[in-house]
């Protein structure tokens, strides 16, 4: 009986230790994240510039979309041709 109680107490102590460690780790993580957030906020001027130059983004994006569309139609054309050949 004494053994069982001792074993249970040991387990409870281990859980308390783990919970304390977990809370410490969570706190550390929260502090790390918040530190990073403060660092990022210090770069606000750069982000404001990004807002002002948004039309450049559209040009860049349009180039990527055109390439993806070209690739898509090329693949379709190739699969149509292959399908046509096999049926012939």
């Amino acid at each position: 009986m004494l053994d069982t109680i001792k074993r249970r107490e040991e387990l409870e102590a281990k859980i308390t230790d783990l919970e304390t460690s977990l809370n410490t780790l969570k706190k550390q993580l929260r502090e790390e994240v918040q530190k990073e957030q403060h660092r990022d906020i210090d770069h606000l001027e750069e982000y404001l510039d990004e807002v002002d130059h948004r039309y450049g983004n559209l040009r860049d994006f349009w180039g990527i979309v055109r390439k993806e569309l070209r690739d898509f139609f090329a693949r379709r054309k190739a699969s149509d041709t292959n399908g046509g050949d096999s049926s012939a």
Binding site: R30, V33, Q34, E36, Q37, H38, R39, D40, I41, D42, L44, E45, E46, Y47, L48, E50, V51, H53, R54, Y55, G56, N57, L58, D60, F61, I64, V65, E68, L69, F72
Partner: protein, 390 residues
């Protein structure tokens, strides 16, 4: 000691103080010009169309048409403050509030195109693009959801118009609760509007003079808000940083208040919602952390139209204030209802995350999304509502 001896540090600091004073002087001048511009539109309509001004807006009686006009105009000008200020001017000129309400709702949707375009700047960055795109489109989905809930409710009950009218009555009405007597804006705006009106009516017919005032007023609002927003961005960047630093780790309400305050400071909701795109893209802020911040932008943007409405004179002044308050109430109710109910709150999060995942894999989705939400669906809705005879 010779009096022309100068200390470099002192000279530099006095020149920066002078430049700061000049900048703030320019801000005051621009706000004044905004107030004059809104009044010019109202006065222009009265001169050009008189009592028939209401019939000019018959084309937008269909609420879907009003919604689409607000969406497209804001997507093209990329400023909801500009469009809502123009709407206030139109209401001052005779546009019925009932027609204007779907337009201000549309302005909320249209303004979201700006941060979506900003997020496209991360298009080559894989995961960074996915996060940035989700942070941009969460605002779109929130505003779309608000329209889906509030537009039918408004058509059925008119609760926004009634609340807006009640608040406008408090500012403009004749009752004992009115603060009309304390309005110092009207007396300082009136002389400038009369000056322009008199100058134009000398060489033109009343109708041409009215039309010129309307066109000039609209152009002035666009130019003034663009300049004001640019100037305030430069002047308020330090304050914005300070506010963001304070809101870190403080929960959603603090994010909401910061988003509202930042938008009031820079007079542009699209600037606020675009700023959070790179912050979320870097992965430093999570989607759920930036979400309330974008909602604050919806509330903060209403201040421009409220300010503009206080300058309107004449019998339509109360309606100009009504539409400005309708915009505020709509955005506040939207936040309370959609963000307040967990099920509704999660819908924009899920929709934006899903769309961002798809778009990160295939960029064509982004193009299809912009074309569909801002152009194709509005066009289809107009055609469908005409077909239904709305």
């Amino acid at each position: 000691m010779s009096s022309d001896m100068t200390v470099p540090g002192v000279e530099k600091s006095s020149s920066s103080t002078r430049s700061l004073l000049l900048d703030w002087g320019l801000v005051v001048l621009l706000v004044y010009l905004l107030l004059v511009a809104v009044s010019l539109i109202g006065t222009g309509f009265k001169a050009a169309a008189g009592e028939n001004a209401r019939t000019l807006f018959a084309f937008a009686v269909n609420p879907v048409a009003g919604l689409v006009i607000g969406t497209l105009a804001t997507a093209l000008i990329q400023s909801s403050s500009t469009v809502t200020s123009i709407i206030v001017g139109l209401v001052a000129g005779g546009l019925p509030v009932g027609i204007a309400i779907p337009m201000v709702m549309g302005a909320n949707i249209g303004t979201t195109i700006t941060n979506t375009i900003v997020s496209l700047g991360h298009v080559r960055e894989g995961d960074e693009f996915r996060r940035a795109y989700a942070a941009a489109t969460i605002h779109d989905f929130f505003n779309l959801l608000c329209v889906l809930i509030f537009l039918p409710l408004e058509i059925a009950t008119g609760f926004l118009a009634k609340t807006g009218y009640m608040l406008a009555g408090f500012v403009e009405g004749a009752g004992s609760m009115s603060i009309k007597e304390y309005n110092v804006i009207k007396p300082i705006v009136k002389p400038a509007v009369h000056l322009v009106q008199d100058a134009l009516q000398h060489g033109m017919t009343e109708m041409t003079a009215g039309a010129t005032m309307i066109a000039g007023g609209i152009l002035m609002i666009v130019v003034v808000i663009t300049m004001l927003s640019r100037l305030l961005k430069k002047l308020m960047v330090g304050k914005a940083k300070e506010m963001l630093h304070k809101s870190v780790g403080r929960g959603p309400l603090s994010g909401l208040v910061s988003g509202t305050a930042l938008t009031v400071f820079v007079q542009s909701s699209s600037t606020t919602t675009s700023l959070i795109v790179p912050l979320a893209g870097n992965g430093v802020f999570s989607l759920r952390q930036v979400y309330p911040f974008t909602l604050g932008a919806n509330i903060g943007t209403c201040i421009t139209a409220i300010l503009a409405a206080t300058a309107v004179t004449g019998p339509n002044a109360v309606f100009a204030l009504e539409i400005a308050f309708v915009h505020l109430c709509y955005n506040v109710f939207g936040v309370v209802l959609v963000y307040g109910i967990p099920f509704l709150r999660n819908l924009p999060v899920m929709a934006s995350e899903r769309l961002a995942e798809r778009t990160a894999q295939n960029k064509v989705y982004a193009l299809a999304y912009i074309v569909a939400v801002f152009f194709l669906i509005p066009g289809t809705l107009i055609a469908f509502s005409h077909w239904l005879g709305l």
